[in-house]
Assembly symmetry: C2
Homo-oligomer: 551 residues x 2
């Protein structure tokens, strides 16, 4: 084998973080990419809409990127595709539902030149030096697959997002046989989902939620509103089934849930009893004890249907005492307060609200420690790379693997951009490629960076003071005019603003006296003098923007 | 009894929220106030440092506010005192430790004219028409008390923050006898801590954490860093005791913990074995297996000691592989991501980290449902008001009380500012007083309101564009100059900024052509024209600030 016949795995997203999952596998002069996800911005990324992986590495290697393989249709696995596919255009492979979801996205972004290939579980495809096999796994959206990539050096197995649900709602079991078969033949490297590596035990089956729905629907005499992730088709199926059992109609409310239900019906992933669905406009024509509303907003998202309902601002759904709202989701870290606020508002309107971990209205879509152990036991990989998780999740997963008998030197806790080089004997970090976060803000992709964010942060804390002076040949001929935003309520701070002018005048005089005529020096003088005064008076440090006009 | 002999309870903070607890009790022409707490700002309160209650009602009734009674020394119960006591100066009553903590605060704010009276559990004082009795309760800081206010109409019992710890670390048990006695004699109104009303079961004893410390210290061979709330003196005591047992020295790190340890030692609430404390500067003179560091930062607060340690930026404490960090606290809602980031950073530096709910390193300081039931059973109040909690906590607590046999019409779920009027037969809402949030930003108290916050929010999202033009008798003589902050990275957007100038010139020309000379109309024209262009180009809506200078 030449030097180029190295096998490299290069995670471009999803390590040290939750979201924007993306992994490149390189052998010889061929690359395949697993997933292209996005992440939602942290609070500190002010004004940012979405975060996608930095794909400079793929763009540089454009010619040899042979395919993007998708494990499932969640945003954190397919959401970056519309941006990635502007830059590189390899064919995409995924399950029927996954590509159904992707198709809609690409249409919205006017990307109509992408080749999409539907693959089914147990399909085997050949791409360059790779033989690629897909196998069914369970998660919290239908039609999920793990991926085995057979390379001349050995097999790479990526679990995708996975849980070992023994009683999945659609009866589509995790393909244990295939994983056992692969394990028996020998897996060189396993990449495993670490999201729940902190959780002991075994994640409960999705069917448990159906049982809870049954109990709740049985005892509720009023209207029932169920909110969950729009992509959790099995959850929606269970809500519909339970509604059917208790003779209730169902209305679907919220754009993304309407879309998902539509796609899932068309592609045969939802089985809806005849005449059960009613239009949102008609919900008030049915008595409350005959209605179920399935809706978006389980994360308290400000623009979602449930939030509008909770704020009494939804066009068709108004909460009445006697209504029961079931929040069939846990808050994603960072959303706790938004969800809590929604619950409070719903209570205030008189609804009963069923939520919280112990209530049985939600189960996770990710394997907990006992499942992760089982996976390692049947796959028996030579090398192990924990993926999909923040650093502590990776570490916990790595420690778990070590406890299962994989020596620490065969475990690789990597980061985004790590070049993980694998031989039959060794796994090692062999450098880095560019990797990181690209921010999407409005129409801009990557045009907001650290400087803009730093400014937004300063503006958000203490606002801005703008000082304008007009000068002619070094002499002040108009101003200073001072305007502020986000600093103090000016009408109640007239004296402060007057004094601020005096300070600017003093700064200008000092400059005149010292023959300082360079604009940048004058500006610095104004900033210092005014900044000091404002800090003494208010304890705040607004951004100070001196603007000098030469007339 | 005249009309003035009404008994009114007026919550001024702590209802529909966690924090800034404050309740006024009014009878005849006398008011006593229970607690004066602050709250920490939500993320959306950009730049705000602290939130305190609106006390207009107390200021209006200044002359008849006879006392402030304190239940314990946590910030959410005493933190607003320095601001409240600028406006009204009634004497303060509290336990020794509580007043010890308050004293320090008042000194910092140069408030030296306040009368402070130490009261002990079972003390009875008379203030106007009130006989006020204090009784011991457990919580997560020593020296906590509940308060019974005997009025001519009956007894009001306020639990304060409470847990029914059967094995408190200091052996100071909840005064069940007193509560039973009060219950037997008849309690007219009970105000109960609702913080944990969502939690089933019984909150574990603080002693449990000591057991966990023992297990961890026993097996750790490296240095141990324990972080908890600085005010959790019993937790610190247990860490010190365990260190002593295993022959380790202890260093206290972090300003607020150093302060709290000092006050607690002086007042006799901490019992520190001789020679066990070492100075922060000296920690590296001891072998790791002989050291324990107790530190602040359990909430991932950006400026805290643990955060500095985790970012490898602490002057004296550097993490080494083999160190164990015990995070002996749960994240307060809203802090989850900060805490998670700290944990990740500590792992990256090679520490082992013990955290999470199941690990036994933290217990709550608030009573869970089974304790709340017991309290209602022994106090047997005629009327019940759930306090200290967001709306859903109040509702859960109210439902619990109803299930215990208190009829719903005797339960009052109120909000801040509600006037709760109580007769022997009835509890009812009798109007509202001014109540709400006063923001503290730097030195300013209440000078930042909705307009300033709205501006900060807009600035934080898309930044600002400043357009300056100089005109003389309606004619443009200089500019437009355009400056932006927090919008785009200007060096890479020169064309955009050039085009923006063109748009402003077009706007000015339109004004000239239409003989628009009013400045506000010119500004509107510029804002509209430029805003539309920038939104089309970038999908963003920066704040646009046109500034016109007349020369």
């Amino acid at each position: 084998m030449s030097d180029k016949s190295k096998l490299q795995i290069i995670p471009l997203g999803g390590l040290g973080e939750i979201g924007k999952n993306m992994t490149a596998v390189k052998y010889d002069e061929s690359i395949v990419v697993i997933d292209s996800g996005l992440a939602f911005p942290d609070d500190e990324l002010l004004g940012i809409d979405l975060v996608i992986p930095d794909i400079s590495f793929l763009i540089e290697n454009k010619e040899i990127v042979k395919a993007i393989l998708l494990t499932h249709g969640h945003e954190d696995h397919v959401g970056a595709l519309p941006y990635v596919l502007r830059e590189i255009k390899p064919p995409i492979y995924g399950s029927k539902l996954t590509l159904g979801i992707v198709e809609g996205k690409l249409k919205e972004h006017n990307l109509d030149d992408i080749i999409m290939n539907v693959v089914r579980p147990r399909d085997m495809i050949e791409i360059g030096p790779f033989k690629i096999e897909f196998f069914r796994v369970c998660h919290s959206i239908p039609d999920c697959m793990g991926i085995a990539i057979h390379t001349p050096l050995g097999t790479i197995l990526h679990t995708g997002d996975i849980k070992l649900d023994q009683t999945p709602v659609d009866g589509q079991m995790v393909d244990f046989s295939k994983m056992v078969e692969l394990g028996e033949k020998g897996v060189l490297v396993m990449l495993g989902d670490s999201t729940n590596a902190e959780k002991s035990g075994y994640t409960k089956s999705e069917k448990i939620v159906g049982n809870t729905f049954d109990e709740l629907f049985n005892k509720c005499s009023g209207r029932i509103i169920v909110t969950t992730f729009a992509s959790n088709v099995h959850r929606i199926q269970q809500a519909i089934n339970t509604a059917h059992k208790y003779g209730r109609k169902v209305a679907i409310v919220g754009r993304s849930m309407v879309n998902n239900v539509k796609i899932s019906c068309q592609l045969g992933y939802l089985d809806i009893p005849e005449d059960i669905l009613v239009e949102m406009e008609d919900i008030n024509s049915y008595p409350p004890e005959r209605m179920v509303i399935a809706t978006t907003g389980s994360q308290g998202e400000p623009m979602s249907a449930l939030t509008k309902i909770a704020m009494a601002g939804h066009r068709f759904v108004g909460i009445k005492p006697g209504d029961t709202v079931i929040i069939s989701a846990n808050p994603i870290p960072g959303n706790e307060k938004l969800v809590a606020r929604t619950i409070d508002l719903l209570y205030k309107l008189g609804a009963d609200v069923v939520y919280a971990r112990e209530s049985g209205v939600h189960v996770s879509g990710h394997a907990a420690q006992d499942e992760l152990k089982l996976l390692i036991n049947i796959i028996k990989p030579r090398f192990f790379i924990p993926v999909h998780g923040e650093y502590r999740h990776q570490i916990k997963h790595a420690q778990l693997a070590e406890n299962m008998g994989i020596p620490w030197e065969r475990i690789c806790v990597a980061e985004n951009g790590s070049i993980i080089e694998i031989s039959k004997k060794k796994i090692r970090l062999a450098g880095k490629v560019a990797a990181g976060r690209v921010f999407i803000d409005g129409l801009g992709v990557g045009d907001v960076g650290n400087i803009v964010l730093r400014d937004r942060r300063q503006l958000s804390q203490d606002g801005i003071i703008i000082v304008v002076v007009a000068i002619n040949k070094g002499e002040l001929i108009s101003g200073p005019d001072i305007v502020s935003r986000g600093f103090v309520y000016v009408r109640e701070s007239e004296q402060l603003m007057e004094n601020a002018k005096v300070k600017v005048n003093e700064a200008m005089e000092i400059c005149a006296r010292k023959n300082i005529s360079e604009w940048s020096s004058i500006k610095t003088q104004i900033r210092d003098k005014l900044g000091k005064y404002l800090y003494e008076e208010t304890g705040r440090k607004p951004m100070i923007m001196p603007i000098i006009m030469e007339i």
